[in-house]
């Protein structure tokens, strides 16, 4: 029972980590909370579902399609909702409002056109179990863990070794200096949103398989935001650790205490953490540069 719970917790935690990393990536560059991220995740799941079930493509191709589709949508989101604000040097409040507007728009557009129906992936994908040390473990959970960590590692490798990745890391320290050094900021920001969108597509696919596909499924990104705060806003390792901690703790609470208080629990965790450790585990953004 405990092993099973832990595996489920890690799987959920892995998905949280994916989302939190995508969100933190944008935060570390543009310094605002991209509340539209959840709706990109939701659209990614719809794209994946459509490719698999309606277009009849193989699962792997559908996942790839979902990743690419979400990456493109995330890029488009930046071009349409944030780029003007960025050039105007607007305060983060305006970015947040624009992001929230995007989320409301996309979510309700899906409601109004596709409808509020819940779409489930076939059981052959979602209900497979293997027995391991006497515990029955979902294959989907194992896949979620493996894919999350592979994706996060690939991102890490990209940021450490590619030219664009290094420029992104530099810009997260000081955008202005980076610009003075001849980096094309618009292209850089485009890359960041493509990467964040790719992670959104992957997490949307897993969320869809685990909990079904529906217009408000993107709200689960609330958990990613909380995970990012636990780890320290803007810190990528923090986002990973925060996501895992939140996923495991939540699963333990809903298994051993009550699933109803799960959401209240994550909120209380956030509040307590802000009181005790306001910068999160790996926080670096407490002191504003003057």
């Amino acid at each position: 029972m405990l092993i099973q719970t832990l595996v489920t917790g890690l799987a959920i935690g892995g998905i949280y980590a994916l989302m939190a990393v995508g969100y933190s990536l944008v935060f570390s560059i543009l310094n605002f909370s991209n509340f539209a991220y959840g709706s990109i995740i939701m659209l990614g799941a719809y794209v994946g579902y459509y490719l698999l079930m309606k277009a009849g493509l193989p699962l792997a191709v559908s996942v790839a399609g979902s990743v690419m589709g979400a990456a493109f949508l995330c890029y488009l989101n930046e071009r349409m909702a944030y780029s003007t604000l960025r050039k105007r040097n607007a305060a983060s409040l305006y970015f947040m409002i624009s992001a929230m507007g995007t989320a409301i728009f996309l979510e309700n557009l899906v409601y109004a056109t596709i409808g509020s129906r819940f779409y489930a992936f076939p059981e052959i994908i979602t209900q497979q179990n293997i027995t391991f040390w006497g515990a029955s473990i979902g294959v989907l959970d194992v896949f979620a863990i493996v894919f999350s960590f592979t994706a996060i590692y690939m991102l890490h490798y990209f940021l450490q070794h590619s030219r664009v990745g290094i420029a992104i890391r530099a810009a997260s320290y000081d955008m202005q200096v980076c610009q003075l050094n001849g980096v094309n900021i618009t292209r850089l920001v485009g890359w960041v949103f493509l990467l964040a969108g790719a992670l959104a597509g992957l997490s949307g696919m897993f969320l869809g398989m685990k909990y079904m596909v529906y217009p408000t499924m993107g709200w689960i990104t609330n958990k990613a935001y909380i995970a990012a705060v636990i780890g320290g806003l803007g810190s990528l390792p923090g986002a990973v650790v925060g996501g895992l901690i939140l996923g495991v703790l939540e699963t333990l609470v809903s298994t051993y205490v009550s699933s109803v208080i799960r959401d209240v629990f994550s909120f209380s965790l956030l509040v307590v953490l802000l009181l005790v450790l306001p910068t999160g585990l790996f926080g670096k953004y407490l002191e504003e540069k003057v």
Partner: protein, 292 residues
Amino acid sequence: MLSYISGIITFSLIYVIAAVGLAIFTGFTGLFSLGHAAFFAIGAYTAGILTYFYDVNFWLALASGGAMSGLVGILIGYPTLKAKLRSDYFAIATLGFGEAVRVLLENLEITQGARGLPGIPAETTLPVAAGVTVIVLWVARNFVHSRYGRAAVAVREDFVAAEMMGINLFQVRLLSLVFSAICGGVAGGLFAHYVSFIQPSMFTSYLSTQLTASVVAGGMGSITGPAVATVIFIAIPEVLRVASMWRLVAYGLLLVAIMVFRPQGLLGFRELSWAGVKRWLTLGKAAGQGRG
């Protein structure tokens, strides 16, 4: 017909009260909340429970609703605003807060869960709503034209410089949160005694969105702007009976469009006044471009 119109006006005024509170918080102090519906809900349930179960006087219940919201505002504001954190932390906390309040309302015994409270006395009439609105607008105006209002604006403009002006960041942000929470609570109390039946599903993010859209479209740093925008957003779709789903699609698009094309909103950093209206009527659209 007359009662239909007075109903729409009453309804609009209730939302105006909540929107004015949010205008102080977002438009003047520059903080962003994603869960303001929760304060509305707390006010509605507190006032509703008091009159429904305990036959408390309506006005006392209304005040208690506001007070309870303000108290909860302090509870959530303290940890999220105390340490000199970026405002993002607060916005994220309000997301969780809105969810947590909804879960509690659905599961507490006193709120009767998803069934809600049917048959709350219908005490909110048009004169009642109008009276409260006038009081709230007056108090909000006093706030804005006081040292506390100036401090709030300073914090919004540049909180580092504001602190160097001797302004206590935490105090100003918390006061403004509590003020807007109380407004939200009072509006919720009026709402509960207008519709006579409340349930948790009435206080979702849809409501928060509507309020935020009103404040942003009405204009940052303005009280009358958001008040006018609220009436437009509540009354016009109500009269035209626009499908609510497409209404939300439009809200979302509107928020983005305003941020991209006209971030100051309808009346950014200005107030509606008779002199201003006259000038606008005589000069046509040119005056509308003014400052901002």
